[in-house]
Subunit: 398 residues, 2 copies
């Protein structure tokens, strides 16, 4: 049916099914299975309030092994207390029993409404059925199953050569709202057939995540459920990748590329977004300053609404930077919308109309050069803020 093409790594089987978690009418559960035990790595929400599946996964990831993932949309299993933990464990047990694999190598991920107990009674039989039928779905089907307010499924892949072997990475994600200050209501499952040692896998994921999901923002909120899971099953039979090697660099770059692609899709699909907004900060004293400034600009409601309205209102940009807590001289700042310089040394260039025209594009780049004498730069992806965001979030549970 779908025309989306992607590479699929060896040895992963996928299943998806309708469990009517929130309501009937669509597949809302996915099971991903590796035919052999995989090396596993994960990154999780830093919100103090963590959903039950996150608490379970954070414990299990310590073992460094993974064999399957069970994920659902419709209910986040967050703020559900002891019952929530039991429910999440029931989900993993349904999978491990059906597939006859160690229960602590099954990861659980949920997304959807917070504070409502999971309808496990109707979910568990469906999860079992899905697990028994791995292979009946594509990874793209799984990407569909984990969607909440997402308007389109998010999938990306890469194929490259390591020590004479074809190695593949494929990943799916769901996003939409709450994407900031770090990765947020966001699930991402990355599958690879690379052979790679655990420490190298962790290092690559941390770095790639920091360069991608940690540099996007939709609404400044951060969810209780953020999870990025990476399973590497080694079936590409390359010589095992170790940190600090050339092959590690190849793998890390490919992984970063895949996560960046998904991050871009998440922002493009930001709740109600009409356009993607890339904020590039240049000339900062150091990278930390650059990132703080880029985040402050990319998160400002006044900047996001101005971009929505195609108003090259650079004053809002410099004002947003001004309360980021980073020192700079406002009288040196240059601001560009696309290729048009709207402000030079903190003053208007009287190019508002040309700059506004740049804002009519589906993807807008705002470049701010702070000219501190430093050469540090950073980039944050965001989206505009529209009436549609309000509608989506005012009516979410109804």
């Amino acid at each position: 049916m779908s025309q989306i093409e992607y590479f699929m790594p060896e040895g992963f089987r996928v299943s998806s099914i309708e469990a009517a978690v929130k309501k009937p009418g669509r597949k809302d559960v996915a099971v991903i299975y590796s035919t052999v035990s995989a090396t596993a790595s994960g990154v999780f929400t830093t919100n103090l309030v963590k959903a039950a599946p996150v608490l379970i996964d954070m414990e299990r990831i310590k073992g460094g092994k993974g064999r399957a993932v069970v994920a659902n949309s419709g209910n986040a299993n967050a703020c559900t207390g002891a019952r929530g933990l039991k429910d999440a464990l029931k989900m993993s047990l349904a999978v491990s029993k059906a597939l006859k694999i160690p229960d602590d190598e099954v990861y659980v991920a949920s997304t959807g409404v917070i504070g409502t107990p999971m309808p496990v009674a109707r979910m568990i039989p469906k999860i079992k059925e899905a697990a028994l039928n791995v292979g009946n779905s594509t990874l793209l089907d799984a990407a569909h199953a984990i969607m909440t307010t997402d308007l389109f499924p998010k999938i990306a892949s890469a194929r490259f050569n390591i020590s004479g072997k074809d190695v593949t990475i494929a990943a799916i994600a769901k996003g939409a709202g709450m994407i900031c200050p770090n990765m947020a209501t966001m699930l991402c499952f990355v599958l690879t057939d690379a052979a790679i040692v655990r420490a190298a896998l962790d290092e690559a994921l941390t770095s790639a995540n920091d360069q991608s999901f940690n540099r996007i923002t939709v609404d400044g909120d951060m969810s209780t459920n953020d999870t990025v899971l990476l399973l590497a099953n080694g079936l590409a039979a390359n010589s095992a990748i170790k940190s600090g090697t050339k092959n590690f660099g190849i793998f890390k770059n490919a992984l970063t590329e895949v996560l960046l692609t998904l991050a871009g899709m998440i922002v493009k699909d930001g709740e109600g977004a009409s356009k993607v907004m890339k904020v590039v900060v240049k000339g900062a004293k150091n990278e930390q300053d650059a990132l703080i400034l880029a985040r402050a600009i990319a998160s400002s409601l006044l900047v996001k609404t101005a971009v929505y309205g195609c108003d090259a209102n650079w004053g809002r940009i410099i004002a947003a930077a001004g309360h980021a807590g980073v020192d700079f001289d406002p009288n040196r700042v240059d601001i560009f919308f696309g290729g048009v310089r709207a402000a030079k040394n903190g003053l208007t260039t009287n190019n508002d109309n040309a700059a506004a025209t740049e804002l009519k594009a589906a993807s807008v780049t705002i470049t701010v050069d702070f000219k501190t004498g430093g050469k540090a730069s950073a980039q944050v992806l965001s989206c505009d803020l529209t009436e549609e965001y309000i509608k989506i979030n005012a009516d979410y549970r109804t």
Copy 2:
């Protein structure tokens, strides 16, 4: 014309005029004059990017004296460089010459578009005319003249007795957007005929401001122009108020009350707001934690949109608290909408419908008890986030 009643302190004269700063059709300049030199105090934006009039006022306030204020809406004179400073000085000079008062006792305040030079050529003659005609307008007229996207003028007053004399405080403000993390695109001029020593005036203003304007939020942005100015001309002829006295307490409380009233009006008039949202945090370890938590909840877009949609989505509240950076146990948290407890010990009480009914009021109180064992509490006023906010800010400059 207007039916708004307020007390007016002795010895202040007001004028307002149309200078067509942004466009013709309304009075957009106000001059406030004290017939005798007043003791002056001020609080200004902490944004690194400060508008020209703010830079001038911050310098002049060091002298501790004030005789007049000239304020305009339509243009913020921010990000206007050396020319902006000259323009602001021209504004004060027009007033000081016309009224034959020391130029460094004239304060300047501007609000409106950022980054566009002031149309001083047409403003200066109008400012002179206004200064020459002080007494031709009421303080309420001045409140009208400083409005930008405000839907109604903001004025409050108090009259009380100090050492047998009637003392009056009257204040006007403009607000609407950008009201956070501290007072933001907000101008407030407070006039009193109290006799009070400079140190006591500073102490009272700092305290009252912290309890009022620093505890409201509309959209998380902070402006380049925030200014609260307080002139105390002593014409009530009370014995001069000093810090640490009973009279100081009376004055400070009255001032806090007046600023709180204005703060409430600003939130009620938050851009596009359909209802006022009061967030009360209880049971925090200390006051700082309580304030951080209250601000995080009151600022969350997901909380604000849920309140707009009358959705008692307490999960978003606990999630917003969870990324505030303050430690608490999610399993102890109680959340109330109005009088209805929606969550107890971090779990749903299945009272969503009753709680949603509470959200239909024009003013909504969300109480979150963290039950840390501590008894600290804090309260932040905010408003919901609606499609109208987006419309206002997408189209602001057009």
